[in-house]
């Protein structure tokens, strides 16, 4: 039994793969530095990150995989769910042991299928963030959006927002993982606040730092959202499936209303019974 630990970085994990191959000692578990070993009989190896070794593994994978499947290995790292290190290791081992190219399309292989499932989950969460992020404009013109995605997808969405909002400064802050991406009209940098302010965690920035028209646009958006609903077609189940409740906290249109927006009374709806004319 071999228990490998690393510093938690992606390069560190790839170094573990390299070391395991060099020693021909396959891990039974991989964990972050400081994690408890799986049992008293496990041999513990701490592997310090070595960039050149990580690079060799990464390049080797790139040669054997399609671009999408290659990137998916990184996505599995950002997935962060229990056992992700071993999943990556098993998949990498399968790739290196397969003589044929295109092993990532063999969905009859358990690890290929599992990686595909992880890839799908990551893609969905990334897409959700691209949809559900809501910016609030502060007095100094910065557009701020707090998020707390299920998986660590912030690195995956940065490019999308960089292309889209090239002419405004913005900050997307993951309050759960306590780091953010800040764009200053030139480039994106990773930032970390010493302490995440409460209003950022709650999803509503305090009015005194917001620009004066911000509340108005938030209200206009809420009004728009309420008025495009067609009450006759109400389908709460579908609504919840598309927009699970855990995302509501940061959605401007799902926040409490300062003013209720009733449907415009512009219909003369038939009652279903013939009307008597007097």
């Amino acid at each position: 039994m071999h228990f490998y630990t690393y510093d938690g970085s992606f390069e560190g994990l790839l170094t573990v793969v390299f070391e395991a191959y060099e020693r021909k000692e396959w891990p039974t578990q991989i964990g972050k530095e400081g994690e408890a070993p799986p049992g008293i009989f496990a041999t513990h190896h701490f592997v310090p990150t070595q960039e050149d070794k990580a690079k060799r593994v990464w390049k080797g994978l790139g040669k054997k995989l399609s671009r999408a499947a290659w990137e998916n290995v990184y996505k599995a790292y950002l997935w962060e769910q229990p056992g992700f290190e071993m999943l990556i290791f098993q998949f990498v081992r399968l790739v290196f042991s397969s003589p044929k190219e295109g092993i990532e399309e063999n969905f009859a292989e358990t690890y290929v299928q599992k990686m595909a499932v992880v890839g799908k989950q990551m893609h969905r969460e990334k897409h959700r963030m691209e949809a559900f992020i809501r910016f609030q404009r502060t007095q100094d013109g910065l557009f701020v959006a707090p998020i707390s995605p299920d998986f660590n997808v912030l690195p995956l969405v940065v490019e999308h927002f960089e292309k889209r909002y090239a002419d405004q400064t913005w900050l997307i802050y993951d309050v759960r993982r306590q780091y953010g991406a800040y764009y200053d009209l030139e480039q994106v940098s990773i930032v970390s606040l010493e302490e995440t302010p409460l209003d950022l965690r709650k999803g509503q920035l305090s009015p005194d730092i917001l620009t004066s028209v911000e509340p108005m646009y938030q209200q206009l958006w809420q009004a728009y959202f309420d008025h495009v609903n067609i009450p006759e077609r109400k389908n709460k189940k579908l609504h919840l499936r598309h927009m699970p409740k855990r995302y509501w906290k940061y959605l401007t249109e799902k926040k409490p209303r300062t003013q209720a927006h009733q449907p415009i009374q512009n219909k003369q709806v038939p009652t279903g019974r013939p009307r008597l004319t007097s």
Binding site: H127, K234, N235, G272
Partner: protein, 421 residues
């Protein structure tokens, strides 16, 4: 101080919501030179209303003043409703400010017809032009083409919009005559034809000169109202198929009729025909993406889609001589026709079987819905079912589940109650 704009937005969003299109995909507008917005890749639904519909665009009318009196429309001239009109600048400001906060992918602008078609169209174009040229806006713009608008204006609209659409609304000329006396098929189809010609022309020119300005890169679409008039699903889908082929439409949208005005020419219904609408969309997908012909799904004897089961299952049950298919050898085109197998699963099956013989477990992992598919396929020559089920039995088992006869009887009785009430 902003009550007027809030009220305008309320009125003009409320009256635009019956247009169901909300797609924001297919745009190819890149953000170059640090402008605002990007509409490359796929569309994004930024929110969902309580009726479960996607909110992707700021969908509003420029005004709900209208000189027409179409029976099904909330903004018809004779309807006594609050009227409002945005200025060009107001629409531009709303779009930009919503877009910057990541509320929307862009703008879907339509309008009631005031004065005349060209006057209205000219204003719609002005909004799009201002967004593109003055604000360097690269988000998505969908403009409604007003029936009867001049060819020049439609051409200009296509320079700034990603998508153009002309709504047919009613599937036959007779219905149009009865319910929308000021409209006729010709006036609707003419601009559609212009748009198509222009799309073809620009595509050809682009091959020669890369600098040719784009024309509505996300193509054109239309909408048909379902359930306001007596047309059959077969008539509706045949029309849609003709539009896809002859006018190169990207999408035909089906809008279940929501009763909004009382009119003796309209049916009295209490709820919109949501299931029928859904079946039409399913059939539309089968025709566009799965290689089915309309005549395979519907014919003279069966002019309506089955409301209880989806059109693919209905087709498979009527064509049992085609099945079962052996999943390890069947053609991709045929695998696509198996109920419970979507495009993604079909592709995965074809990819994976190059490596190994597929088993039932593999199919399950790939994402095939075996509950449906198992009656129509074999895996390694074997079926998952030990006995032969006839068409009625398969239908019953798929709708009501596979538990004993009592449960399914119960189900069908409940269903009858629902139909009666």
């Amino acid at each position: 101080m902003h009550t007027p704009i809030l009220e305008k937005l309320s009125i003009l969003a409320d009256s635009a919501k019956y247009d169901v299109s909300c797609s924001s995909s297919g745009g190819k507008r890149k953000n170059e030179g640090k402008g605002l917005g990007n509409a490359e890749g796929m569309g994004i639904c930024h929110s969902y209303t309580e009726d479960g519909r996607c909110v992707s665009l700021l969908k509003i009318l420029l005004t709900n003043f209208c000189i027409f009196d179409c029976a099904y429309c909330v903004s018809r001239k004779s309807n006594d409703v609050k009227r409002a009109a945005f200025t060009v600048q107001e629409v531009v400001d709303l779009t930009i400010n919503f877009y910057r906060r990541n509320y929307i992918e862009g703008l879907f602008l339509s309008s009631g017809i005031f004065k005349n078609a060209d006057y209205t169209m000219e204003r719609l174009v002005r909004v799009a032009k201002k967004l593109r040229l003055e604000h360097k806006f690269n988000g998505y713009i969908h403009l409604k083409t007003i029936p009867g608008a001049s060819e020049e204006l439609v051409k200009e609209a296509g320079l700034y919009a990603d998508r153009l659409s002309v709504n047919i609304e009613l599937p036959t000329e007779e219905s149009l005559k009865a319910l929308a006396p000021e409209k006729n098929f010709k006036e609707v189809l003419t601009p559609m034809g212009h748009i198509k010609d222009q799309l073809v022309l620009v595509k050809e020119e682009k091959k020669l000169f890369k600098s040719t300005p784009s024309f509505a890169p996300a193509g054109q679409s239309t909408q048909l109202i379902v359930g306001a008039t007596a047309e059959s699903d077969r008539q509706i889908l045949t029309l849609a198929d003709g539009l896809y082929q002859n006018y190169q439409l990207k999408r035909v949208y089906y809008s279940g009729y929501v009763p909004v005005v009382t009119d003796s020419r309209l049916p009295l219904i209490s709820t919109p025909p949501i299931i029928r609408e859904n079946r039409l969309y399913q059939a539309d997908w089968l025709v566009r993406l799965y290689g089915f012909g309309v005549n395979e799904l519907l014919d003279e004897q069966n002019p309506q889609l089955d409301l209880q089961i989806d059109p693919k299952l209905a087709w498979a049950l009527r064509n049992r001589h085609v099945f079962p298919l052996e999943i390890n050898t069947a053609d991709y085109e045929m695998i696509l026709r198996v109920p419970g197998v979507g495009i993604k699963s079909a592709k995965k099956i074809v990819a994976a079987r190059r490596f190994s013989h597929l088993t039932w477990e593999h199919l399950r992992q790939i994402g095939v819905v075996l509950k449906r598919a198992k009656y129509f396929i074999t895996c390694g020559g074997r079926s998952l079912e030990t006995r032969e089920w006839d068409e009625q039995a398969i239908r019953r088992r798929i709708i009501f589940g596979e538990k004993g006869g009592r449960a399914s009887l119960w189900g069908s009785q409940l269903d009858l109650f629902q139909q009666a009430s």
